[in-house]
Each structure stands twice: as C-alpha cells, then as structure tokens.
Point group: C2
Chain length 717, copies 2
C-alpha cells in the first residue's frame, strides 16, 4: 500500500512541477492555431449549398450500395445511415492529409462499427487517399483487395486500427486518445507550437454499445477525462436479430453520463447536418470530458422498403431495391459514378491537408529551435526506431544470484527499461502489487497528469487489451505493456488476437502462470493457457526460466514492434540455472546442458519456466545413475519453429525419441517435441486450492516424476 501511495504522491508532485502539464499551453498555441486556421482558410472547402451537400452525402450512400451489391456481400445499412456524419467529419471537421496518412498530428478516425467498412472506404476514396481507388472499391471483399470485409490497418492506409469484433473499436479510440493526451502533455510547451494536438473520432453502433468491453474502456475514458475523444453513436435501433427493443432497452445516454461523459443528442442524423455540426462544436468546447454524440439515424436511409429493418444491415440491397432507392433519393448517376462536383468538394481535403501538415512542420521548426532536446526525443520516439543501445539496460544474472520469481525479474526489467525506452507505457488491471508492473520513477497517468507512464486500468482486462492496441497503433513509438494474472487473459483474448492480427506490438505481462499460484484455486490457475496462445498465429508466447530468460524474453518482445508478446511469469521463486542464456531465448529453444557433448543422449528433458529446474534436477539425478541426459529449455515454441531445420535437429535430434517434457500445463501441443515415444509431466485437469508446493506434489509435477518418466521412455527404446 505504502509503495502505491508513495507513487501517487510522487506523481502529484511531478504534475505540480509543471514539466508535464501545461495549463498555459492553450494561450500560446492558440496563436499558432490562428495562423494555421488563416492559412487553411485559403484552401478550405467553400460553403456549400444544401443541394450539393445532399449530393455529397448521397454519393457516400451509393458508393456503399454499389460496392456491396457487386461483392454480393457486406453491410450497406450503416453507411447509408451514417453518410451525413461522414460528410461533416471528412469535409468540415477532421484534420488529415490524404497524401500522408501517417502524419503524426492528424485527427484519428476509428470505425468501431467495423462491419460498415464500406463507409470508411467510401470516405477514404472520396477524400483522395491513394490507398482506395474506385477499382479497389469495386473489388470490395475480394482476395487481395485493399478493401477487406472489415477495416484492417495492415491492409489499407488511412485505416487506423482493425475493427470488426464489436465494441473494441471504441476502446482502441480511447487508447488513441490516451496516446494523444500523453504525448501532448509530455512534449507540448507553453511557448512553442504544439507537436501533438488533435482529436480522436469514432463511430460506434448498437452492437458496440451492448458489448461490455466498451463500457470498460469508456468508464476509463470518463475517469481520465479525455476531452479530445468524440464518439458518435449511430443510434439506429437495429441489430441482426431485429429491432434492439428485443434485447437492448437501457438508457445509453444516461449510462454515458454516469460514466463521466458529456452527452449530446442529435435527433435527426439523416438530414440535420447543422445539428451534427453543432454537436461536434459543442463536444470540442467541453475539454475535460469525452463526448458521446448520440445520433439517431435510420439504418439504410433512403431505401424505401428496407430502411429501418435488419434486412439492410448485413446483406446487399439487390438490383430492385437499389433502383427504388435511387428513385427515392433522386439519384441520377450510374453505378459507382461519383459526380465531379462531389469529387471537387471532398478532394479539397488534399490541398487543405497538405497546408495543415505544412503549417505543423513549420511549427515543429520553431519548437525544435527552442527545445532541441525535447524535439530530438520526439523525433526519436516517432521514428519507429528503438534508441540505440537500449538493450544494455537489461540486467544480467549469474547462477549464484538469489532465486526469485520471474514476476520479480519482470519488475526489474520494466524498471530498467523505463528510462532507456521513452515509449514504454503501461500497467495492470488492478493487480499492480501482484503483477509487479509499476515503473517506480513515474507516477500515474491521470487527469491533469497525462505525462505520467503508469496506467491504472482497474479490473477491466478486455478494455485494457483493446486500449493498448490503440496505443500501439497510434504510430508514435509508444510501447504499451499490460498485465493481469495469466488466467485472466481469458477475458482479454479477443483483444490479444486483434493485436496479433493487426501488428500491434503490445507486451502482455502475465504473472501467476500455473498452479504455482496456489491457494486461490482452479478459477485462478492457468492450465491450458500456454497451449491456447501457442496455437494463435503471430503472437509470441514466452515462459522464461529465471532472470536470464526473463531478460531475453523482454529483449525479443521489445525488438518486435509489430508482433505482440505474451510473457508468462511465475509467482514462485526459481534459480538462475547454469546454462540458461538471455541471448538464446531468441532461438525459442536451446540446449541448457548435455551430459554427452559428442555422443547421443539417452534421453532429452525439455522444460520451461519454473519447471526447467525440475528437468535440471532430474538430469543431475539420472546422470548420477549413469544416464546421458540432455536438458533443453523451450521458452518460446513459436520462435523455435522459425529456426532452421539444422538448428532444430541440433537441439532435438530426431533419432533421440526418448524425451520428456515438463511444464505445469496441459500436454496438448507437446507431442510435436516429445513424439509418440515421449511423456509429458504436467497437468491435464483443472488445478485445486492449496499451497503451491502441495499442488505440485499432488498433481505429480516433481523431480521424481521427471526421473521416473525419463526411465520409462528410455526403456521403450
């Protein structure tokens, strides 16, 4: 407790010192903004007639309708209902440069209702992004296209994050707003133009609102007071099962007020552009709360027979209804036809965006002259490169060093890395004293102290995971880590999968990695979790043994900025075994010891994490009895699989079929390494509530069990 309180005290002091928080920033940077605005005016979209705006809005609708019809698959209803929001956001509100989608100070947009992906592709195309041509739109949802079924940041430039699993996009947006607030507080100065100063917009639907994960992240957004987060809720009252009245009758606006949000209602989101404009202006005026704009719309607006029904949610309109919709909306243009005056309107964004970025760059020059050190740090951070020599910060270990839990080593790593890696930011889902994840030199990221780097997620694992995806994909070199008990990855698995898919290099610090957790019992003891993540593509599952391998796991995890890493860490102590090696972790598996330098071993014992000690102990005993024993450590199966056939053969020679794996987890997946002739010493059932040493004994995960298994598998051969 005291440590925690101390840290909170520290952070408050740091905040008060003014180094991170700049209440005066608005005053000065307003000048810069005024200059910027003046310049931008020159290329701003002209004030348009209602007729032309309608034309722009209907273009969005028909591009989506036509694309979904052509692909015979997709969701036209959302783009048809949200087209007015799209127009106001892209043409009148957002700051972005279509020709440089990676401009760091752009406004961010997240489509949490990811099934409406054609909305986003239509906007990107109309606004002049090179990533989405009309041909791309015509190949919507086809193999190899830039326009997959749900928005995928790793496919389409201009898409910030991968949405699709409902409820998570808004959480990503919270993460993006966290990153913005953090960098702004850290780098912006009262007497220089701001380096980071933008909004985060998000459109979410009824499905997102029903998912609990959105409540988690939005509770945090309210707590943190993320005033530059503006979420537009497409309140169309339709989900796949029909009208939301069959399962969703809560008062969403009131709930968001309860979560600490500023809430606005646009009654007619289908036609009342001014109401949308005003809502966004009002949202910007409230600086200490995120804003939810509930925009009541008709799904499939314009379709005379399908609007306001679930028929238009997830299926093409079809030729007949498309014709009826064209007639109804008086749309006289052909399939996939964009009127030139509409292009002219939207593509004014190209000049406008270029000018805005140019202004920002000039501001940066001013900043760089005044604050060369901070500018260098900002450039370093946002370069996407790790600081040179960062890895030297990792502590090294000797076998005679004290036995510790790997969660303790992890704490050492985080605290050693924090000064060396300016992008490191993270925290735990209310288990900081157990996960040991606090960076002791920093305070808590809180309202009024956004420059701090310890995040307090509360008991919200899934929200935490999705927020970290947003931070990672913000693209400014931030390295988010997050933590809970390994078992509770079950709550956040969906977010971890999206991290793997969307190249978000989040580091998952997962402690209490086995029945070694002890008395809390089987609801808290992971058994199948290692296997379940080893099975998942594009995520690395580490289970390090001792200090050297924990350092090695962090080294690989930090290096891989596009691949998430899960580091499974023990509650209980273990030695730093001779032969364990930080550098060799990158190989995934390696020989720790072999009583047979030249010849063939009689048996190979393969262990991970806390059980490598059992393998080493068994080897010692078997060696005394005259057996030739090789001990292999396998901290990361995924990396081992990536090694050359020669290397793998050198570690696990195929002709040696007498093999024993030992890991306090399920045998599932170990057959690849132990084969039909091997045995696994582990646990294929749920655990139990008792002190850890008793559990190891009762479940038969002991040195004696390894010795016995080794003798059995040797006899067979």
């Amino acid at each position: 407790m005291q440590t925690t309180m101390q840290k909170r005290g520290l952070s408050q002091r740091q905040a008060l010192s003014g180094a991170q928080v700049n209440p005066a920033a608005a005053k000065i940077s307003a000048k810069g903004r005024a200059r910027l605005a003046a310049r931008a005016q020159a290329v701003a979209a002209p004030t348009l007639s209602k007729e032309l705006v309608d034309k722009c809005v209907n273009t969005i609708r028909f591009v989506a309708i036509d694309a979904v019809n052509k692909s015979k698959s997709g969701h036209p209803g959302m783009p048809m209902g949200c087209a007015p929001m799209g127009y106001v956001l892209w043409n009148e509100t957002m700051k972005y440069n279509p020709k440089n989608p990676e401009w760091i100070n752009r406004d961010r947009f997240v489509l949490s209702a990811g099934h409406g992906s054609m909305f986003q592709y239509a906007m990107l195309h109309l606004a002049g992004y090179d990533s989405v041509s009309m041909d791309d739109i015509k190949s919507f949802r086809q193999w190899g296209s830039q326009t997959p079924g749900h928005p995928e940041n790793f496919i389409t430039k201009g898409v910030e994050v991968t949405t699709g699993p409902l409820g998570t996009g808004i959480c990503n947006a919270v993460g993006i707003a966290v990153a913005e607030a953090h960098l702004a507080a850290r780098f912006n100065k009262p007497d220089a133009p701001p380096l980071i100063d933008h909004y985060t917009y998000c459109i979410l639907g009824d499905g997102c609102m029903m998912e609990g994960v959105s409540n988690e992240a939005c509770s945090l957004a309210g707590h943190w007071g993320l005033g530059k987060l503006i979420a537009l809720y497409d309140d169309n009252k339709i989900s796949i099962d029909g009208h939301t009245e069959i399962s969703f009758t809560e008062d969403v606006a009131k709930r968001y007020e309860a979560l600490g949000w500023h809430v606005i209602h646009v009654q007619d989101g289908n036609n009342d552009y001014d109401a949308i404009r005003k809502a966004i202006a009002d949202a910007k005026a409230v600086k200490d709360k995120p804003t939810l704009i509930k925009v009541s719309t008709l799904i499939g607006y314009g379709s005379p027979n399908k609007a306001d029904t679930h028929d238009v949610h997830g299926a093409p309109l079809g030729a007949e209804e498309t014709a009826a919709t064209r007639k109804n909306l008086k749309w006289e243009f052909g399939e996939f036809e964009v009127p030139q005056d509409v292009y002219d309107v939207f593509r004014s964004a190209i000049a406008r965006g270029a000018s805005e970025e140019e202004q920002w760059k000039k501001g940066c020059e001013v900043y760089a002259q005044k604050y060369p050190k901070e500018w260098a740090e900002f450039q370093g951070l946002t370069s996407g490169k790790l600081p040179e020599g960062w890895e030297k910060a990792l502590p090294s270990f000797k076998p005679e060093d004290k036995a510790l839990a790997t969660r303790q080593h992890s704490q050492s790593m985080l605290n050693a890395l924090a000064p060396a890696l300016p992008g490191l930011i993270g925290g735990s889902a209310d288990l900081a004293p157990s996960n040991l994840t606090l960076m002791k030199m920093f305070g808590d990221f809180q309202k009024g102290q956004y420059a701090e780097r310890n995040l307090r997620f509360g008991v919200r694992e899934h929200g935490m995971g999705a927020i970290c995806n947003g931070i990672a994909l913000y693209g400014a070199g931030l390295i988010p880590y997050c933590a809970t008990f390994f078992i509770f990855t079950d709550y956040m698995r969906a977010a971890m999968r999206v991290a793997a898919l969307s190249e978000a290099g989040v580091i998952y610090v997962m402690t209490h990695d086995s029945i070694g957790l002890g008395e809390d019992g089987p609801t808290h003891q992971p058994v199948e979790h290692l296997a379940s993540y080893r099975a998942m593509p594009d995520i690395m599952t580490f289970r390090p043994a001792g200090g050297p391998e924990t350092a090695g796991a962090y080294k690989v995890a930090v290096e891989h900025r596009k691949v998430p890493s899960l580091i499974a860490l023990s509650r209980q102590n273990m030695p730093n075994l001779p032969g364990t090696d930080m550098e060799k972790v990158a190989k995934g598996g390696y020989v720790v010891s072999c009583g047979c330098p030249q010849g063939n071993p009689d048996v190979i014992l393969i262990g991970t994490g806390s059980e490598l000690e059992l393998a080493a102990g068994a080897a010692e005993e078997l060696t005394k009895e005259g057996m030739k024993v090789r001990v292999v450590s396998m901290p990361c199966m995924e990396l081992f699989e990536k090694q050359s056939a020669e290397y793998k053969e050198s570690v696990l020679p195929r002709k040696i079929t007498a093999r024993v794996s030992v890991e306090a987890g399920t045998s599932f997946g170990w057959d690849r390494y132990i084969g039909w002739g091997g045995k696994h010493v582990g646990i294929d059932s749920f655990g139990a509530s008792a002190p850890a040493p008793i559990l190891y004994e009762k479940f038969g995960i002991t040195k004696a069990a390894v010795v016995k298994a080794a003798k059995e598998v040797s006899k067979q051969h």
Copy 2:
C-alpha cells in the same frame, strides 16, 4: 426478418393466451404464502437485541479473520465489511433449508465477490449446513478441504455457482433469476400453491462492477425486468491497487438506473442493520425491476489500522492487528470460537427451513392433485434425468440427402429436440438468423412472457455465457444452449472455462467455424479456436461432418449434463458422407472407410467437419491410383482420448506412420495423431477476406493438397 417477426408475433399471442403468464397468480398464491408465513412464524428467529445482533455480526467477522490467519492466505476484508449483510440475509431474509441445500424452491445466494469466500463459508457454517464444519473452516484453502480459495459449487454444498473470476457471479445470478422466472411462469397456476417462487440474492464488489461482463448481464436483467433479483453492491471503494478513485470514479448507481434497475443506497452498511432490512423490503416491493442495493461499507471494518485500506483486502490480518481488532470490537471470545447464543440464533434456520420446505411440499401435493400433468412434467424436469427416448427425436440422414451446412443441421436438431426436451432453453448473441438457433415453436423469453424458451442475448457473448452457467447450475433440469460465431468464443472464453470447471452442461452452438465464413475476413475467421478448446480440460469440442455427426454431437452433448459441449458448425454446405455415423461420434474418432479391410493401409487420412469431404475425395483419387487409404473422422478428440488403447489402436494403428490430417485450422495439437511422419493440411496463419472457395484454394486446403501430402508421407516410409 419475417421469420423473426413472426416468432415475436407468435410469442406475444402465446403470452396473451395466459397459459404461461399468470397475472392472477399473486392473488391466490398469497393465501398459500400467508399459511406458510404463519407456520414459519412458529419457528422464526426471535426478535433480537441490538447487542445480540452485533454479536452475530462480529462472529462472522472473526470466523473469517481467524480462518484467513490460520491459512496464511485469503481475503478477510470483504467478510468483515459485509458481515451485517450476511446476518440480515441469512437470519432474517432468505428462505433455505440447511439440511437440504438442494431444495428447489430455496432462495439462491451468489457471492460474486468470490475472493470473500470465507464470508460464504462462515454463513454456511453458522446456519448449520453439514457441508462446512468448524474443522472445514480451519482447513480453509488447504488440499482436499470443503473450503477452497474461491467458492466452488462442485466442492461445497450450499454454494450455488463457482465464482472467482470477477464480474461473472452477478451474471450467474441473472441466469438463476431467469430460470426462476421461467419455471414460475411455466408451472405456477393461479389456483394452486406455487412450485417455484423465490428470490435470488447476490453480493458483488467494486471489481465486479468494473468488469464489462456485469454490465452486459445487468443490462439484460433490466431489460427482462427480473424483479426477484436483488443485488447488494459492497461499495467499499478499495481494490487491489488502492482506493478506487485511481481508476473507478463513475456513478454506479446512475448507471444501474440507466440499465433499468431499481437502485437503493444504504449509507452505513457497517452498522445500520435497519437500513439494510428496509432496503431489502423495498427491493421486494418493486416487482418489475431488479434491484441494486448500494451498501457503503468499510473494507475490514473493525480493524483499527487496516480498515479502508487494500492491506486488508487480500492478506491475513496477522496476530497483532487481529488482537487490535478484537479489542476494538470488544470481542472476548477465543480463536474460532462461536458463542452458543450466536449458534442458537443462526441455527434457528434449521427448523425454520425444514418447516418452509415442508409447507412447500404440502403445496406441491395440492398442486399435483389439481395439475397432475404439469406436476409430472415439473418432477421430470427437476429429477435431473432426461425424458425416456428423447434421443429418438434426433433426425437421421442418408448419404443421398441434400448437402447442407452443419449449422442448418443444428437448427434441425434444436427444433427436433425442443419438444422432446422440456428443459431446452437458449439463444444467440444477436446472431439468431446466422446461427440458426431459434426454436420455431416458441416465442421469446421477455418481460411478461417468461415461459418462452428463446433467449435474446443481444451482442453480449460473455454475459450470455455466464448467464447460461447460472441457468445450468440452477439445478432444475434446464439445458441451456447459446450461440455466436465460433470466433467470438474469444469474448466468452472465461465463462466457458468456468462451465467446464463447475460442471455446467451448457451447449455452445458455434457456427461459421473456419475460413469458410468467407468475406467477413480474418477478424471473423477462427483458426486456432479448435485447438484452444481441445486444450481446455472438461469441455468437449465437436466438429461434426454432415447431418449424422451433427446429430451425434447433439446426442452426446445432451447426455452429458455435467460437461459442457462446444459444437463447431459450418457456414457452408457439405455432403452426408457414406460411413459417417451418428452413434460413433461418442467414440470421438472412427474409421469412415478403408480400402484395406484386412491388410494395412498405406496412408491414413484424418479429417473433421467440412474437411472430411476433402479426405474422402482424396482417398477416392488415391485409391484409383492403387493406394490403400483409410479415412478417419475425428469429430471429438477429447472423447477419442477417453477410449481404450485397443480401440485407439484399431482406428490409428501405430505402425502406420504415414498420416495426413485435414482441418481448416491450425496444426497445433494434431501431432498427437499424425506424429513426426505426418502432415497437416490446414492453416497456421490468419485468414483473409474473400469468398470461401477462393480462401480454401489460396490457403491450400484442397483435395489436391491432401492427395499431395498423402503421397509425400507415404514416400517417406
């Protein structure tokens, strides 16, 4: 849409017919209740002095303190803060029979804040349950004890559900309240004593409130208007990281109002017993909404130095602070000492409960005479036995029957089983038209029509899973099923794991089970999910091929009332292959065809689900080329593993090492069956957005790929 609407229309008609809903029930059953109350009065707890109530409350506190001290592990703070609620619930409020914890009409209690398990054990012990003796309390958190670290229904009689993972207990309570409402609506009659008529109580804490899953289930509870659900929120403002102000500053009461709950605040939960009493009475008076009683307490109340700090949350008080607490609360009794007058108070529940059950039984006799058919159905349902011959309802198939998706077969099964299994109840997380899970002869379970059996969960997978656990563990023979896309089991995995652990025989209908989902893309395409559930203990993962195996999967799933089943079903069509067999699904794996009745095959092809067709097609082609090919179907690895060594050898003879597995999923875990000599035709990466046939082609999951792999593995041997 029309189908959905029709069903909703139907359900409304059914509701109006009055068969399921009995607005008059209260009038008549009130008589019975009055009789009941009069009898119960005779054995009711006497009105106690404030002093004696304090003594009862402090007993709860010290039993918890002493047990946690002795085990050197556990959470004393919650029981110390919640002791007054415990007293009022167990001695003055709840209807239960300590000597028959399975009495069907008991009030249910769920400790959602499961880490406070000593609270529940203290109450069970004091109230006279045989399951928790003082010796059991003294072995809190020890191997083999009745008092594990978190409440486990399969260990301790009187514990209704397994809680521990935060946020889920309240969802289980929602499920229990659903079961109560359903059975009451279905069986109670206006002119007979009620068969089911009880409350569901739950204590939940700040952690539960932060978890999104609780928001999901509580949104549904509000929507459904579950008036007999009464949740007490232990508002102690402490979580593991410290005061909740660091991450949890939302207005919880307002949020619950927004969710449609009746909300009451007890300002002083530490001493104001009358306020707690009044709140519960007020909660009961509101019949159309669930009630949240926010009870403000001090965690660790009574501890002079640790109350209101996180130090008392999850660690023993220790000798010194225990002594200080004894002094502070003027507790003059010894360690583990329960004053006799306190036992006398609490154990009045034994006579009271026996009398209440006796009265209920007499009511049942009256009911049985008036409604013999309904009584027989009720008895059948609550007997825990399946109706004789139920399995005859399952449709059978011939190879020449039309190729269909297994999700379509699943729909046939559910609709065939619904009339044969009166306990079948379930639905989808807003994907009913895709999962095909509606029972067409029933309407929707909704406020005012609780007798219906289609549940509309909205887009709330995790809440759905946890609610179904409550329904399953209600103990009245209900068989809950629930559905979403297979990929979204990632959202509800934590609930599925608890189902497996806590012997809740939920059936998971998981459609769109592979890249065969097509255009929605990789966020919607399960790849590693089969492996991840095969790795989990005590859950059966089925991936049936065609109609016969889908029927077989349902047969096994329904038979296993204490083991959950996941049935992975295709979006796309597949044939009913010759050799596939409903009955053989129970073996987990079996020979579908063998071109080598006596001799040894040259190669074994193992397939599941939609890919069994590829194996069979490849076998045909290879046979033409003169090879002897065995085709094995493996619909359930877990069941295959349970077969005898002889049976397994008969299906997969060890000497035949040339093997190919084919499944549109990761290779992880297949090594057990294909060995080092085998190959897997599948997908070890994420999928992509494109039509399904293109994806199969591009990812190389084709008949040609199986043929090629078969030739390769055969050459090696």
